[in-house]
Symmetry: C2
Subunit: 261 residues, 2 copies
């Protein structure tokens, strides 16, 4: 593969907030984008320089190098059922997903993808909020689940390398284990703080300011994303239990020493 980035033809399925965020960088890098989604994004796409197709059959009829799945975690199974794979123009196309859980799409895609198609499972560990000022140094997690065409796969990964992402190759299994302890926990705390309706005061400590920021950035993601992190990562439930347990431990330590009051 040459070191200068190859322009790819990328078709995006699911053009919500995260797809839009990725698309603008991909267009900037000179890739050719098409998209389809449940909602009509024709106008938004035309502003971005992306060809939008309301109809999935017509969308699949374009010859692409890559199909990028950007649907919500909880709708993936339904969306996959609606794809007529036999209509995919390029039989050796690379499927890539960006879901924030990894075992779940990996397993589903291995079941439904025609054997001739390649599969790369990824999770960019940033979003419209945390990646607003660029992606430099931000982690991009991926597993090459089934790659025959190394060139297309490398060209796709280069999109993120070029922006300075820290490329982290790990299994989907390992991703889910770590993400439950980090990302799911972070979203949970953000949502707890939002339930408590915490607000900046005139006397915030630096630590509290961090929590207010966390609450705000968490709540910019929809509940579907958070629900997906819980329902489709088998490690998440245990981390929720660990959190509840830790609160009880901290509380007990306070109460145990009340007599020293």
């Amino acid at each position: 593969m040459s070191s200068s980035p190859e322009a790819l033809k990328i078709g995006i399925i699911g053009f919500g907030p995260f797809a839009q965020f990725l698309a603008s960088t991909m267009v900037k890098q000179g890739h050719t984008l098409t998209a389809t989604s449940r909602t009509d994004y024709s106008e938004l796409c035309s502003n971005l320089g992306v060809d939008f197709f309301r109809d999935i059959d017509t969308f699949l009829n374009v010859h692409n190098d890559v199909i990028l799945l950007c649907t919500s975690i909880v709708s993936l199974s339904q969306v996959l059922k609606s794809i007529p794979f036999h209509l995919v123009k390029n039989p050796n196309i690379l499927f890539v997903d960006v879901l924030s859980v990894k075992n779940y799409p990996r397993d589903l895609l291995l079941q439904v993808l025609p054997e001739t198609m390649d599969l790369l499972c990824t999770h960019p560990m940033f979003g419209p909020e945390s990646g607003r000022d660029g992606w430099d140094g931000l982690p991009f997690v991926f597993e090459k689940v089934r790659i025959r065409d190394q060139d297309v796969c490398s060209s796709f990964l280069q999109i993120f390398e070029l922006e300075g992402c820290r490329m982290v190759e790990m299994t989907c299994e390992e991703h889910d284990k770590q993400a439950a302890r980090s990302q799911f926990l972070t979203h949970t705390i953000g949502r707890i703080l939002s339930e408590m309706d915490i607000k900046s005061t005139s006397m915030d400590t630096k630590g509290f300011q961090k929590l207010v920021q966390l609450k705000e950035s968490t709540m910019k993601d929809g509940f579907d994303l958070y629900r997906g992190l819980f329902v489709h990562n088998k490690y998440a439930e245990q981390e929720l239990k660990n959190l509840e347990l830790a609160i009880q431990t901290v509380k007990q330590k306070l109460l145990d020493r009340m007599e020293e009051k």
Copy 2:
């Protein structure tokens, strides 16, 4: 009062981490410091340029403008009992406390302080960690509980004004209400994360990095400080309950929508 800062004679009771942190700035500003503490800090003090007295009677025999109480919240009552107030050289001295709760020291000090002495209750909303790179813009909360000598009080407040602190005058009551919802909650979450033993991974999101930092800075403060925030702020218990409730609400929202799986 003149706008050029007046050099004060300040005696510190309780020379732990926070007192040491404050003292180095006060010495830098040209104030004359003496100190006493349960532990012998003679050597540390001589390095800082502070006169240390093991014996409280000798300590009180120095003519000071200000006595600064920097003991732990949970030892305040015991420490106050050990002060022979009749030995305080200057009968019109200004007592200042820096405890992270405010109603509690205010009430105790109003009970035990001789009527001739002034009282300023303060809470610098930063510490050795968050104030390491200077105090500029950091909040300094205070209530002038009983001030007759405005000049000495102003000179003392100027120490923090000069470093760029945001001066926030509010009642001890209002402080405790707000601090339970902000600082106590922050410490609680830091300690919960520490119980969970969270650790930085190769794929941290920016949000998770904030939590790791929060855990680390919280754990630099001793458990006595955290226990004081709980035991001696009447609003803290309710905030702990609110936190537990919020977790249950978030959990219930996840479970309620499990059937949409």
